[in-house]
């Protein structure tokens, strides 16, 4: 097996040579922001190139299309990808959720069928968890799956389906039993083909004006029952497991990254370029942002030091999403105030500061303060699970 050092050297060379530069349209910062066919095709092509070069799925088993190396190899490659600030790996639901789950608990047939297409981006995956009436209350999902021979008949609707209209497969949380005492016990987790009669998607236009999600409708759609993961009734547990994959709390992801984390302190450059870095009022605000950025960075470091988290071991991991997403929203919002009259402009306007990047980033920042459990739900979770406060009913 190639050593990690040699592998990293190869990766360094490859990304130095092949990372696309001077792309003449705005690339998405996160997989949720893929809004045009042009962006989609570019990123699909890019992921395939990275996979073909051996730097994606390096630790996945070679029998199913992976590189057959170790996590250390993939981590080294991913680190180099970050350093080169490469475009994102867009097939995230496959790479970070469905793929690890299939490798962990799928059948041999599942692995043979799905893994390679996930890595090559030939098969795009999406996720069907949230429903129009059940956003924060995920456990109350109502989409029905009724077993009929070796098929399930699906009826209902899912929302916030990223890449819904590009996807070949969906990981679906469906209700197979409506008569359980506990709402969670009636849920099942099904790998579902998207291109079957009875399933159609409708694009959702985001507050940014762009597309990026769909609502997905299921009307008597018949899908193979062998897509069931685990057993009926295990859906909630499996969904929670995929969330752990998502958060990186469990290893096994294919690697790469699907969310660019721009240095929040880029606003310092914005302030300097607009001649406001000398303004004491602006400095006063910027110092707060720098302290906050440093605190969040240090929270991540401290979470790994047992002696410094023993009073509340669950605390730092659980406040992570809340603090980071709110900070991103705040700082992008603040950036607009540094743009004077030009803050009136938006993406595609030639007079816009940085092409309207900050405006789009601010509006898109709500995807993280709302998606994956709103900041308000996060505060309930922290209050109840970390501090032990009484449940809000």
């Amino acid at each position: 097996m190639i050593s990690v050092e040699d592998f990293a050297r190869d990766a360094e060379k490859w990304f130095a040579e092949h990372t696309p530069r001077d792309v003449d349209f705005m690339l998405p910062l996160t997989f949720m922001e893929v809004g045009t066919d042009q962006q989609f095709e570019f990123l699909q092509n890019w992921q395939r190139q990275v996979y073909d070069a051996g730097f994606l799925g390096a630790a996945w088993p070679s029998a199913y299309g992976g590189g057959g190396l170790t996590d250390a190899h993939q981590s080294a490659a991913t680190k180099i990808m970050r350093e080169h600030n490469v475009p994102i790996m867009m097939n995230t639901i496959g790479l970070s959720w469905a793929g690890p789950l299939i490798l962990d608990m799928g059948s041999e047939a599942h692995k043979n069928k799905y893994i390679k297409g996930i890595l090559s981006a030939e098969d795009i995956w999406c996720q069907g968890f949230s429903e129009p009436e059940h956003g924060s209350d995920l456990g109350n999902a109502q989409l029905r799956a009724v077993r009929d021979g070796d098929e399930y008949i699906l009826n209902g609707s899912k929302i916030w389906t990223t890449h819904g209209h590009y996807s070949k497969y969906m990981i679906l949380l469906a209700r197979t039993d409506t008569n359980t005492q506990n709402k969670y016990a009636g849920l099942s987790f099904i790998l579902t083909p998207m291109r079957v009669p009875g399933i159609h998607t409708q694009k959702i236009r985001k507050l940014t004006g762009e597309h990026g999600f769909t609502q997905t409708f299921f009307e008597d759609a018949r899908v193979p029952a062998d897509g069931l993961m685990g057993a009926e009734g295990m859906g909630w547990k499996i969904a929670m497991k995929t969330l752990e994959f998502e958060r990186g709390a469990r290893g096994g992801q294919a690697g790469g990254f699907s969310v660019t984390e721009p240095d929040p302190l880029e606003i310092l450059n914005l302030a300097r370029e607009s001649g406001q870095l000398e303004d004491p009022v602006v400095q006063d605000d910027l110092v707060d942002f720098i302290i906050e950025a440093q605190a969040l960075n240090l929270n991540g470091q401290r979470a790994k030091i047992g002696a410094l988290v023993r009073d509340n071991p669950a605390g730092l991991p659980l406040i992570n999403k809340l603090t980071k997403s709110e900070f991103a929203r705040e700082i992008n919002q603040y950036a607009l105030t540094l743009q004077g009259a030009r803050s009136a402009y938006y993406v595609d306007e030639p007079n816009a500061v940085d092409g309207g990047w900050w405006h789009r980033a601010y509006l898109n920042a709500f995807s993280a303060t709302i998606g994956g459990g709103t900041s308000q739900i996060q505060r309930n979770i922290i209050g109840e699970h970390v501090l032990g406060l009484p449940k809000s009913t």
Partner: protein, 378 residues
């Protein structure tokens, strides 16, 4: 410029820090219950003398002093978990002024002074600071007290305020202008007559302090600290005091949040625990998040303290966050205790008062942010 946050300081911990954390956590919890603190607050003694003796015996005043001067040979990083636990239990001991006074001698004293005083402090404490003046300035060099050279030594004039732990100290580190230059002196407290001391009424009743009239107080020639190191000593005092005060406040914030959470989980209104109402729950979570962020900044400051440049930035950031965390947690603690919160019996005000007290010494958030702006942007 380009502030690289990741280069501004990483976080680490030493085994000794963990050891002191363990010992201090137990000791302070077992020896400084809130009921006992309230009793001492109302009493005459300036400090919890039993606890103070234990601190001396355990060698805590020597943690950050070299072994050659009788210390433990560690650093201020190891004093941080101790200050945190002392703050957490509002323990009435002058740990901060004593530790900082020793640091002042270590950095700014002559060799004779170090040999003479540091082993005593390491063994039994008994040192404090006389720096602030009635002008209220946080700038340690902004003073009017003066020292006139005489044949035998110096004669002082002026006034000092907020001198903590005076009754239990044998020496104090005092600033005064000598020929226009801010200078540091080691003043033996026996030189200050009772008539020159006035006990002050502090917002924080767990702390005790005095105003000193310096007019006519004389010091021997040996009292003057090394003039060439005066600036470094002042900087050391400033940063060490802020590091430890941040630790005290973060410890206090922890207790304050625990105290509030306890009430929110036992008090019922309209048939429900008040902690189930999100107006209270979410705000309490915000207080908790503020505490965790401040604590990360604190331990990064401890870890990077001796690093020139980074240490000051990290310390001032911790000070900003710690002050805000305790102020917010305690302010909301009063509010969330409702009518009880408006009474003296509710502990919430103890924590609020503590935060106000710390804002008065060695700079508040605005002061530190101004310093940070200058360090980061100029």
């Amino acid at each position: 410029m380009g502030v690289d946050v990741k280069a501004m300081g990483r976080l680490g911990i030493t085994e000794e820090q963990v050891t002191f954390m363990d010992i201090a956590e137990r000791f302070c919890r077992d020896n400084s219950s809130i009921a006992a603190v309230r009793e001492r607050m109302a009493g005459e003694a300036d400090v919890d003398s039993q606890a103070l003796n234990s601190l001396s015996e355990m060698g805590w005043f020597g943690i950050a002093l070299p072994e050659e001067y009788g210390g433990v040979g560690l650093s201020l990083a190891e004093a941080v978990p101790v200050a945190e636990q002392i703050g957490r239990r509002l323990m009435m001991v002058p740990f901060i002024p004593t530790t900082v006074a020793a640091q002042a001698i270590l950095v700014g004293g002559t060799e004779d002074q170090k040999r003479n005083y540091l082993p005593k402090i390491a063994k039994q404490g008994g040192a404090t600071l006389a720096l602030s003046e009635a002008n209220g300035s946080f700038a340690l060099a902004n003073i009017d007290a003066a020292a006139q050279e005489t044949k035998a030594g110096f004669i002082l004039s002026g006034q000092k305020i907020l001198v903590e732990g005076l009754a239990d100290s044998q020496i104090l580190i005092l600033t005064a202008k000598l020929k226009g230059q801010v200078s540091l002196f080691i003043c033996e407290t026996q030189n200050i007559p009772a008539s020159a001391r006035r006990r002050e009424i502090l917002i924080d009743e767990t702390k005790r302090s005095y105003t000193l009239q310096l007019d006519g107080v004389t010091l021997p020639r040996t009292a003057l600290m090394d003039s060439s190191k005066a600036k470094a000593a002042l900087q050391r005092i400033d940063l060490a005091a802020n590091l430890l005060a941040s630790a005290e406040q973060i410890g206090a914030a922890k207790s304050c949040i625990d105290y509030t959470v306890e009430y929110l989980g036992t008090r019922k209104q309209f048939g429900k625990y008040i902690g189930s109402y999100q107006a209270l729950k979410h705000t309490t979570v915000d207080a908790y998040v503020g505490y965790e962020k401040a604590r990360s900044l604190l331990y990064a400051a401890a870890h990077n303290f001796e690093d020139q440049g980074k240490g000051e930035i990290a310390t001032r950031m911790a000070a900003v966050a710690a002050g805000r965390a305790l102020s917010f947690a305690a302010d909301r603690a009063i509010q969330f205790h409702g009518g009880f919160g408006f009474t003296y019996d509710c502990d919430a005000h103890l924590y609020r008062r503590r935060a106000i007290f710390h804002d008065s010494l060695f700079g508040n958030a605005r002061w530190h942010k101004k310093k940070l702006a200058s360090l980061l942007f100029n």
